[in-house]
């Protein structure tokens, strides 16, 4: 369970996240939608304690991230592709993180196998493609077998097989009773993966609902999304 309460973060005059409150419950995949620059990544960083909120707070299982006893065993996070040193192998990267939270070394090979990187585990991760980097990020998130997962744009750079793999993986993790919170700007992908949705625009909550509810009365989830975020789009091209 992730609880955001009145979460607020400013960068200079810009309000990136504006009094955001929502709950992410266990047992289903919750999609986190919003236009570019709407504050999705900042919200995730606030939940993980990487950025400091100006007001409000986020709790995971009732505790702030900083207070967790074995963070990786409670929360798994994928924030950006390639959050690893290019000169280090995938195996060493995961082994270091595992050691940081006293996770058995055997778990490293398990997650490498799970994400399909066993064959590349000894190579320098700097040579990885974007998709392989994402797989390594997913492996790191799953390392501690956590009950709560946060993933920021996990399908970026993945091939169709990888996209389907992530979709099935997230759904099965949620079916095991875990809390799964996934941001994306790909509405069609969220329509297939998520049951619940948190939609934000310009840092504010626009909807906290289910995919079924939001799609109701619109031709597609995409149409419903545009109707909802029409006024909150910050960067728009000219057709």
């Amino acid at each position: 369970m992730i609880e955001a309460r009145n979460l607020t973060r400013r960068y200079g005059p810009t309000v990136a996240v504006d009094a955001l409150s929502f709950d992410v419950r266990p047992g289903s995949v919750t999609g986190f939608l919003g236009p570019n620059g709407s504050g999705k990544s900042t919200t995730m960083r606030l939940i993980l304690g990487l950025d400091r909120p100006d007001a409000g707070q986020a709790r995971i299982g009732g505790r702030r991230y900083r207070e967790l006893r074995w963070p990786l065993r409670e929360v798994g996070a994928l924030l950006e592709a390639k959050a690893f040193h290019p000169g280090r192998s995938a195996r060493s990267h995961l082994a270091a993180l595992a050691a940081g939270n006293a996770i058995p070394r055997t778990r490293v090979d398990e997650v490498l196998d799970l994400v399909g990187l066993t064959g590349a585990a000894g190579r320098r991760a700097g040579k990885f493609s974007l998709g392989m980097g994402q797989r390594l990020g997913v492996a790191a998130a799953l390392l501690g077998d956590p009950a709560v997962l946060l993933l920021d744009e996990p399908v970026n750079g993945l091939d169709p097989e990888g996209v389907r793999w992530i979709r099935n993986l997230l759904r099965s993790l949620a079916a095991q009773g875990r809390t799964v919170f996934v941001s994306s700007h790909l509405i069609s992908e969220m329509a297939l993966t998520a049951e619940r949705l948190v939609v934000i625009g310009r840092g504010r909550l626009l909807a906290d609902t289910t995919v079924a509810e939001l799609s109701e009365g619109s031709a597609s989830l995409e149409d419903a999304f545009f109707r909802l975020t029409g006024d909150a789009v910050e960067y728009r091209g000219v057709a």
């Binding site: 990487l50 006893r69 390639k82 280090r88 990267h93 940081g100």
Partner: protein, 257 residues
């Protein structure tokens, strides 16, 4: 699972990170080889039996230090350049603990490598002295101290670099500040303000840590700073490292990652 992550887990994590980069071992190997090589060259050319031969043998320490200092910087800034810092802080959200663990692991590794380099340089230079000069022995007054403290210099400059890396976060800028602070500014201040010169890291290393007897200036001694004693020099160098690490830890805990 009971308990909570602490320094032991953080240190194990940092040790795996440090040892799993090939650049770590290359840099340390070049540091040691350079230190020994320069010591040998200077030793071979020593002609004055009354000179501080131990100090001559340790002549490679100061250039070698630059590499451990830069490695210290990169140990921290590399996390920011690559984005690893987010993964690190996800595992160890109590941030000062991360820097403490890095300092412990990196400090231990550079101390071991630094001592090895200093001792090898000393013995190599002593074994190859020419011109009929008697080699200094570890048992001679001040010799063991000079060799041990020179080895410690690698660790202290490395930790200074680590602290600067945590403060500045950008590799190029932090290495620049380290080189400027340790090498360039020291030379300038040495010319302008003689009393402050004794407190410059490089001059502490050259004139306090790696000497067996107080440095005297000979003619023109009125323009010569009175250098710190070896132990006072060690204290001042340690203080620099502690200040950089404390400031770095304080900033790490307060800034967005």
């Amino acid at each position: 699972m009971t308990g909570r992550y602490g320094l032991a887990q953080a240190a194990r994590m940092e040790w795996i990170k440090l040892r799993s980069l090939r650049s770590t071992w290359w840099t340390l190997a070049v540091t040691a080889a350079g230190t020994v090589g320069i010591g040998l060259a200077v030793g071979l050319n020593s002609k004055d039996a009354s000179a501080d031969l131990t100090n001559n043998a340790l002549a490679g320490v100061v250039p070698g230090l630059l590499l451990t200092g830069a490695l210290g910087v990169l140990t921290m800034t590399g996390e920011y350049t690559s984005g690893t810092i987010r993964a690190t802080l996800a595992a160890i959200p109590r941030r000062p603990l991360v820097l403490a663990a890095k300092a412990a692991v990196f400090g231990a590794v550079t101390l071991i490598v630094g001592e090895a380099a200093a001792f090898i340089a000393f013995f190599a230079a002593a074994a190859t002295l020419r011109h009929g000069i008697a080699a200094p022995a570890l048992g001679d007054p001040g010799v063991l101290r000079a060799v041990v403290l020179s080895g410690a210099g690698f660790c202290l400059i490395g930790l200074l670099g680590l602290g600067l890396g945590a403060i500045i976060r950008y590799s190029a800028a932090a290495v620049g500040v380290l080189v400027a602070g340790v090498y360039v500014v020291a030379q300038v201040i040495g010319f302008v303000a003689h009393s402050a010169a004794a407190y410059m890291p490089i001059l502490i290393l050259e004139n306090s840590l790696s000497t067996t007897r107080p440095v005297t200036c000979g003619p023109g001694a009125d323009s010569c700073p009175s250098f710190l004693s070896a132990w006072a020099g060690l204290g001042v160098m340690s203080l620099y490292a502690v200040i950089a690490l404390t400031a770095g830890g304080w900033l790490l805990a307060r800034r967005d990652a």
